[in-house]
């Protein structure tokens, strides 16, 4: 089937909000090339469970496309239209299963040497969209905070090496009550600027109690979910004929209910639960390493929810063991932890947290702080922070935040 053949009833299986937006813009979708539409539908089919920032972004994109004339549409998408597709792809039920189509399209692009061209036309389209529909700046400057090295008693190698050129290094931080101060800062911002999913606290270990205004995700809280997931993965792996691609497809289709998620006590939040499941099922290594979980959750929160405030705390991950052993849901003894390895993971992940924050609107005013938990070292980046500088000040984290924001 081609996009020009689309009819409203084709989307009967979509959730209500998704169906509504797709049908509203059916005239637009019918004009788009097949190499493009399933990628858009893969996002729209989950519209009901998207964060507000994502919804707004899709709304604005579709509204923009609806203003284009037929000629402009053709000019905008000719690069995608030139991508050669196979008969199997054309025959695939991409309306019902857009994500699977995109997986197959990706394999097709690699094997037919069209990937580079697809990358180019995708980037060109994104640039065009950004120019035509500039993203809205955040109401307040964003603040990202990463806390690394939990449980490490001493470490002599230099930290924050990737970030030092961008901000001020502090070597005399008073660590007392440091993490609570940072969490309090998130809460204060959340109360002053209440926005759904606008203020996040992600913990690679066990989260401490936080205000309900925060979107809170933790590795420890997801332990039962991870156990169910690992057991299901093992069952799938053991099935004859199961390969990595089929496993990935199966995992991508998992929903909170499949993994027994139930926050209980009226805390049911399907948007957040779906986010958590996606971190565990779409991220690589998130199921077994807490540092990877925290980094990927932060990346996805930034990309999707575009938070105003994000606090990420990295906790020690298990030491590397054979993959089969780490994937086993039936651990008999608690795994040994790798404290220094986790510090190194977290140090680099903090750099990625900053990079991903800088990809969002308002980057020029954004602020960032990374702290070696329980120790005297921190680094802060902000519009008024001297780059590549080193501060001799003795300060606590509240003061550093005040100077940075």
């Amino acid at each position: 089937m081609l996009p020009s053949d689309l009819k409203p009833e084709k989307f009967d299986g979509y959730p209500p909000e998704a169906r509504k937006i797709v049908v509203n813009y059916l005239a637009v979708l019918r004009q788009l090339p097949l190499s493009f539409v399933p990628g858009l539908l893969r996002e729209l089919v989950n519209y009901d469970f998207k964060f507000p920032a994502e919804r707004k972004s899709h709304d604005r994109e579709l509204e923009y496309l609806s203003t284009l004339s037929a000629g402009q549409m053709k000019e905008c998408f000719h690069g995608f239209a030139d991508i050669s597709l196979s008969k199997q792809l054309e025959d695939f039920d991409w309306v019902r299963s857009p994500a699977q189509f995109v997986e197959r399209l990706s394999a097709h692009l690699w094997s037919t040497h069209q990937l580079d061209n697809f990358r180019k036309v995708s980037n060109d389209y994104a640039d065009r969209l950004r120019t035509a529909v500039p993203p809205e700046p955040p109401p307040i400057p964003r603040l990202g905070m990463s806390v690394i090295g939990q449980g490490v008693s001493s470490y002599s190698d230099p930290l924050f090496r990737k970030l030092r050129a961008h901000g001020a290094y502090y070597a005399h931080i008073n660590p007392d009550n440091g993490f609570q101060d940072l969490l309090d800062a998130v809460t204060v911002r959340a109360k002053a600027h209440p926005t759904p999913y606008g203020h996040w606290y992600i913990d690679g270990g066990e989260s401490i109690a936080c205000d309900a205004a925060l979107a809170c995700v933790s590795y420890k809280a997801l332990e039962p979910t991870r156990t169910v997931l690992l057991r299901k993965m093992q069952e799938e792996i053991d099935r004859p004929g199961m390969g990595p691609e089929a496993l990935r497809t199966t995992m991508a289709q998992m929903r909170p209910a499949d993994l027994g998620m139930d926050r209980g006590g009226g805390l049911h939040d399907e948007i957040l639960e779906r986010f958590e499941v996606s971190v565990l099922t779409e991220g690589s290594g998130t199921q077994i390493f807490s540092t990877v979980f925290a980094q990927w959750a932060a990346r996805e929160a930034l990309r999707r929810a575009q938070p105003l405030t994000l606090l990420v705390r990295f906790a020690p991950r298990q030491r590397q063991r054979p993959m089969n052993e780490m994937l086993s849901a039936e651990a008999k003894v608690p795994p040994e932890l790798d404290f220094v390895g986790s510090l190194i993971d977290g140090d680099f992940a903090a750099y990625y947290n900053w990079l991903n924050q800088q990809r969002l609107p308002g980057a020029e005013k954004s602020c960032f702080l990374v702290w070696f938990e329980g120790h005297n070292q921190a680094l802060a980046i902000g519009p008024s922070t001297p780059r590549g500088s080193e501060s001799a000040s003795v300060a606590d984290l509240r003061q550093v935040l005040a100077w940075t924001l």
Partner: protein, 384 residues
């Protein structure tokens, strides 16, 4: 095609940066293809020449290797190997960036397009088949030491003019170990890690009597000695290098291909493990170079090639997650490097020009004396 020229420009920039870092750190000179010393041809005749190819472990980025901050991770390459080598700063892989299919492309000189996770042979003839058929060499003269079960068909293509009977013998050290330790494999689990590219998919390794026969008959190793030595090793690549050294000592193949893979643990996303993998690979490359220089069958007549099959995603591409994968197809993940060392190869020289991944096989052909007639590449003249 503005995207092609842009990609070419980026590749050239990466190459220039690599050259500058190497010139500053290792004191290398910029080379030219047209000035070769007279002694360059004074090497063993093709019939006695040997080649060892090492694929550098799943790909590592410049910032963790050749750039200033990364050089601490590759001390052996920087101080021992590169000063004795011709170094090519711009080797471009235009194919599929999956490890099995990309390694197959390296081994055939043709960009293979099969499913990276399928248990299939390459479609085009491999270097091993050209070598054995053209030079009438026995199967014992071409070997592959491969990291995981997925590579068990890398030695022989499905091409009807070559294929069965002309390929390399493939040894899978983890299968060997699995067979040798079938009753007590728990102590060896750290050496049986597999399939980093999809870390959540780990097919069980199985060994059988054939592997144990290989161990005793070919490698001259008793099961007990093998098990006992394996307990002193810390990673699958260390096991591969141990097996490769046994092969060099007892079989001395003229064409030996070793695929290292530890670095690919990066797919699990833990940066510290990725760095550990790079440091280990650097050390193992040095050990193999030393083995080449000390094994009587190899000393003085062996050319060593070290190259990654491809790189990893850059931090700048929002579509990826930096070092973790190689999925974006960006310039950094496609632009890698190659090191060549041995008799007749100029030492301490850097070449900036673009070399294609598919150029390896015809280059091996020129060194060993076979004609890679179906390869898409061209011999790299600077090492001949």
């Amino acid at each position: 095609m503005p995207n092609v020229s842009h990609a070419r420009e980026l590749s050239q920039r990466i190459a220039r940066t690599r050259r500058d870092f190497l010139r500053d750190a290792a004191g290398l000179a910029l080379g030219s293809a047209f000035c070769r010393p007279a002694w360059a041809k004074a090497v063993a005749s093709p019939s006695k020449r040997k080649v060892v190819v090492i694929t550098f472990g799943g790909g590592a980025r410049d910032q963790e290797t050749f750039m200033i901050e990364g050089q601490e991770n590759i001390p052996h390459l920087m101080s021992e190997l590169i000063p004795q080598s011709s170094f090519f700063t711009q080797v471009i892989n235009r194919g599929i960036l999956g490890h099995y299919v990309a390694t197959a492309s390296l081994a055939t000189g043709v960009y293979e397009t099969f499913n990276n996770f399928a248990a299939v042979s390459p479609e085009s003839p491999t270097a091993f088949e050209y070598f054995r058929k053209d030079l009438k060499r026995p199967s014992s003269d071409a070997w592959v030491v491969a990291p995981s079960n997925g590579f068990n068909r890398i030695g022989e293509s499905s091409h009807r003019s070559y294929g069965p009977g002309f390929g390399a013998r493939v040894i899978l050290p983890k299968r060997l170990l699995s067979a040798a330790t079938s009753t007590s494999s728990h102590d060896y689990q750290h050496l049986l890690r597999d399939n980093y590219e999809t870390p959540y998919f780990t097919p069980e390794l199985e060994g059988n009597e054939f592997e144990l026969q290989q161990l005793e008959m070919i490698l001259k190793l008793s099961v007990d000695d093998f098990k006992s030595h394996a307990q002193t090793l810390s990673s699958p690549d260390e096991l591969s290098v141990y097996i490769a050294r046994q092969l060099m000592r007892h079989v001395a193949p003229s064409l030996l291909w070793i695929t290292l893979h530890d670095i690919d643990v990066a797919h699990a996303g833990a940066y510290s493990l990725y760095i550990e993998g790079i440091r280990r690979t650097d050390r193992l490359c040095s050990e193999l170079w030393k083995a080449i220089q000390t094994e009587p069958e190899y000393a003085g007549n062996t050319t060593l090639f070290i190259l990654p099959d491809f790189g990893r995603d850059s931090d700048e591409d929002a579509g990826g997650n930096g070092f973790q994968h190689h999925r974006t197809g960006d310039t950094l993940s496609r632009t890698t490097w190659m090191l060549a060392a041995g008799p007749g190869v100029r030492q301490g020289v850097v070449f900036d020009r673009a070399v294609d991944s598919t150029d390896l096989v015809p280059t091996l052909g020129a060194v060993l004396g076979f004609h890679a007639s179906l390869s898409q590449g061209k011999p790299v003249q600077e090492v001949l």
